[in-house]
């Protein structure tokens, strides 16, 4: 019976929740939006999803191989990046652009900064912004739906309002996964229930956009509702602004992050000339995250002060 037993530092049990399981939950939470996209924009959207996810996973494996790092099999983070990126692209985008975008997300934004956990900005968001700039003429001419719908097909523009029902169902122009509010909210609830994310970022972000729009639209609740149901706000606030790596970890940090992102979105929407509000806002707050994190560090018990 005196065989060598395993020696290790405590603790010897674990909550059981792994990185892989968290990533899997994010993928599951994005399924409704993916399905809605396929219905609204046609089956080609699934092709975009498949190519982007495959490209992201492939580039991650390739990059790890070249960088002589262990291939992160199965942490599923590249798949999450791929799916998020795809859902932020229009269904009629040329597939080669998806591949270039994936390359940018995985190799430039994630890989070169040291891989999972080390990237300062969200790979999917940054790739989306990059593609918007790089393929601007292409996308604008042929595929106008990639632009933030806030500036073209939503009530925010002075045009005729899309009905709230259409917004909830996602029956308007936009990227594959960003239009169907109902599907995104369903995914958000799943993430909250599974405790993958907390309410702080989405509530601070979406709530403040609602408030500012309410005021700017002359106290019109319908217009304010339309503002939060459109323009990539939901997918951004629920899925991208809650990315662990690039947003603060403390509750107060998250609230500041959400507030900041919503104010920038607001400024861009109402005063900016650039069409993409939400992505830029999140990207900007990503960059501020290390500062927010150090401002909002929790007070250490028993160090200064008499409170916890």
């Amino acid at each position: 019976m005196n065989t060598q037993l395993k020696l290790s530092v405590s603790p010897h049990i674990h909550s059981g929740r792994s990185t892989r399981r968290i990533m899997l939950d994010v993928l599951i939470a994005l399924l409704p939006a993916t399905a809605a996209g396929a219905v609204i924009f046609g089956l080609r959207s699934l092709l975009v999803v498949a190519v982007t996810v495959a490209a992201c996973v492939g580039f991650e494996a390739l990059f790890s191989l070249i960088a002589k790092k262990p291939i992160p099999v199965g942490d599923l983070s590249a798949a999450v990046t791929g799916l998020l990126l795809a859902l932020n692209l229009p269904a009629n985008i040329p597939l080669w652009q998806c591949v270039v975008g994936s390359l940018f997300a995985i190799v430039v934004v994630k890989g070169l900064f040291g891989g999972l956990g080390a990237n300062p900005v969200n790979p999917a968001i940054t790739a989306r912004v990059f593609m918007l700039v790089a393929f601007a003429t292409l996308t604008k001419a042929a595929f106008p739906t990639i632009v933030d719908t806030a500036s073209s097909a939503t009530p925010l523009a002075a045009e005729k309002a899309t009905s709230l029902t259409d917004l909830l169902l996602g029956l308007h122009g936009g990227a594959i996964g960003e239009t169907c509010a109902a599907a995104l909210l369903l995914g958000g609830v799943y993430l909250l229930v599974r405790r993958v994310i907390t309410w702080h970022v989405p509530v601070a972000f979406i709530g403040t956009v609602f408030l500012t729009s309410f005021i700017m639209e002359g106290m019109d609740a319908t217009a304010a509702l339309a503002a939060i149901l459109s323009g990539g706000l939901l997918i951004g606030a629920i899925f991208m602004a809650t990315d662990y790596v690039t947003s603060p970890a403390t509750p107060w940090g998250k609230i500041i992050f959400g507030l900041g992102a919503s104010l920038i979105t607001f400024l861009i929407r109402y005063f900016g000339s650039y069409p993409e509000g939400v992505s830029f806002a999140i990207l900007f707050m990503n960059i501020l995250t290390p500062y927010i994190s150090s401002w909002t560090r929790r007070r250490i018990f028993g160090m200064g002060g008499s409170k916890a």
Partner: protein, 443 residues
């Protein structure tokens, strides 16, 4: 409560053995008694090979002020004084006694005469009692203070570690021993306020402690509170418990007495009470024997120095080869290389855990999810500490307050990337200490 509770985690309780009254096992063939079963200087053996000893015979005297005497746990013959490798890597002598199977008590054993502060303190010292919650800090040292400073005696009945129920058994089966100790402390140490901190998942024990409260209060002149606390790990962490029971914050690097408190584990109290009543020092220990590999889990009263393997044998043996065998609970317990390791004074459980129970996720890079820092009871940022430690940045480590870490394991427990956070904190603390020593040497 005017203040909010500290963070923590909901660990699985797995208190399978809580309804099993302790059973005394038969005399083991031999016992191996290390001279260091407490914090502080090892005890000095006072017996030689060939000496005959009985249960309770002094075999080693305290090796300094912060130390504790050690007594024979079986009757028989000292056969060897060997070297024993402690889990912290240092080697101390160990007295090996071959049992005659009789368990004859030493005839000089008699209840101590206690009629003053000094005689009570001396009695506690002679009882060999150390912190039985696991820390093993010699109990008499805690009370060797200006007694006027003690405003609260906090009795630690939290028992927050999964599996472990030996304290629960103390609260159910040894109320009288606890009472003897408390009344003596009240009378001779002038304790005015007693607070019992207990987790809400121990219904029967809470009732029992309420009864104890009534009995002690009936003897007059003190307040007694039973505080029922949520079952959130690490409720039994000394500083956590003091904060949750009396609302005081023990500053980093300070002791409970610096805020007018002394915290004592309930089994420690019972051991003192037993000594006051009978004069029999601490020579046996109730341990919870559990884990997926133990055939008949239970609570067993074991002579100190008995090999784990014999205790497992007493519990029907092991059903499969365990992945890990540990002293104590799974959150803070210490693994042993093999089951010849002896039961120590401060052992409250031995667990033979199966692969299934010890399953950890794969270690992957930190994804900055914040779970570690949001669960740390003390508000530390383990992920940031780990990054600072990687750079050996002692200035940052100091600022991040790593020296406050109590190594409770909440952070590692919740980390989805299974980062070795507790281990890193331990290493970082050592690094900081070395750095400080270097600076002091320079100055």
């Amino acid at each position: 409560m005017a203040f909010s509770l500290l963070h923590g985690v909901h660990v699985p309780h797995r208190k399978n053995t809580r309804d099993m009254a302790a059973v005394r096992m038969d005399a083991p063939k031999t016992v191996v008694i290390p001279m260091s079963m407490h914090i502080g200087a090892p005890a000095k053996p006072v017996v030689k090979v060939g000496d005959t000893v009985k249960v309770g015979t002094l075999i080693a005297e305290a090796g300094g002020f912060v130390s504790a005497p050690i007594h024979a746990s079986v009757s028989g013959k000292v056969t060897k004084i060997t070297d024993y490798l402690l889990s912290n890597g240092t080697t101390v002598p160990a007295v090996v006694i071959e049992s005659d199977g009789e368990m004859t008590p030493d005839e000089t054993i008699a209840p101590p005469v206690v009629d003053s502060r000094d005689t009570l303190l001396e009695a506690i010292k002679r009882s060999g009692v150390v912190g039985l919650g696991g820390a093993g800090f010699p109990t008499h040292v805690k009370f060797s203070v200006d007694l006027g400073r003690i405003e609260y005696l906090v009795v630690n009945c939290a028992e927050c570690e999964p599996y472990v129920t030996s304290d629960t058994r103390t609260m159910l089966d040894r109320v009288d021993d606890m009472k003897t100790a408390l009344v003596a402390m009240k009378t001779h140490f002038g304790i005015r306020n007693i607070v019992v901190g207990i987790e809400s998942n121990k219904k029967a024990a809470i009732k029992s402690m309420m009864g104890l409260m009534n009995e002690v209060v009936a003897t007059g002149e003190c307040t007694f509170t039973v505080k029922v606390l949520p079952s959130v790990y690490p409720q039994g962490g000394e500083k956590v418990l003091i904060y949750h029971t009396v609302g005081r914050v023990v500053p980093v690097g300070k002791l409970p007495i610096d805020v007018g408190c002394i915290a004592v584990n309930c089994t420690t109290l019972a051991a003192i009470g037993a000594y006051l009543k009978t004069g029999m020092p601490l020579v046996e220990k109730c341990v919870t024997v559990d884990g997926g590999c133990v055939k008949e889990p239970g609570n067993v009263i074991v002579p100190v120095g008995t090999a784990m393997s014999e205790v497992f044998e007493f519990c029907g043996g092991l059903t499969e080869a365990p992945d890990k065998v540990i002293y104590g609970g799974p959150m803070m317990g210490i693994t042993v290389p093999d089951t010849s390791a002896p039961i120590l004074k401060n052992t409250n459980a031995i667990l033979a855990l199966s692969k299934k129970e010890t399953k950890l996720p794969k270690t992957t890079p930190c994804i900055r999810c914040g779970r570690c820092l949001n669960t740390c009871p003390f508000g530390l940022s383990p992920a940031a500490i780990a990054r600072a430690y990687d750079k050996r940045d002692t200035v940052a480590l100091d600022k991040l307050g790593v020296q406050a870490c109590m190594e409770c394991g909440c952070c590692s427990f919740v980390c989805p990337a299974n980062r070795p956070l507790v281990q890193t904190n331990k290493l970082a603390k050592v690094l900081l200490k070395e750095e400080k020593a270097k600076e002091d040497a320079k100055a």
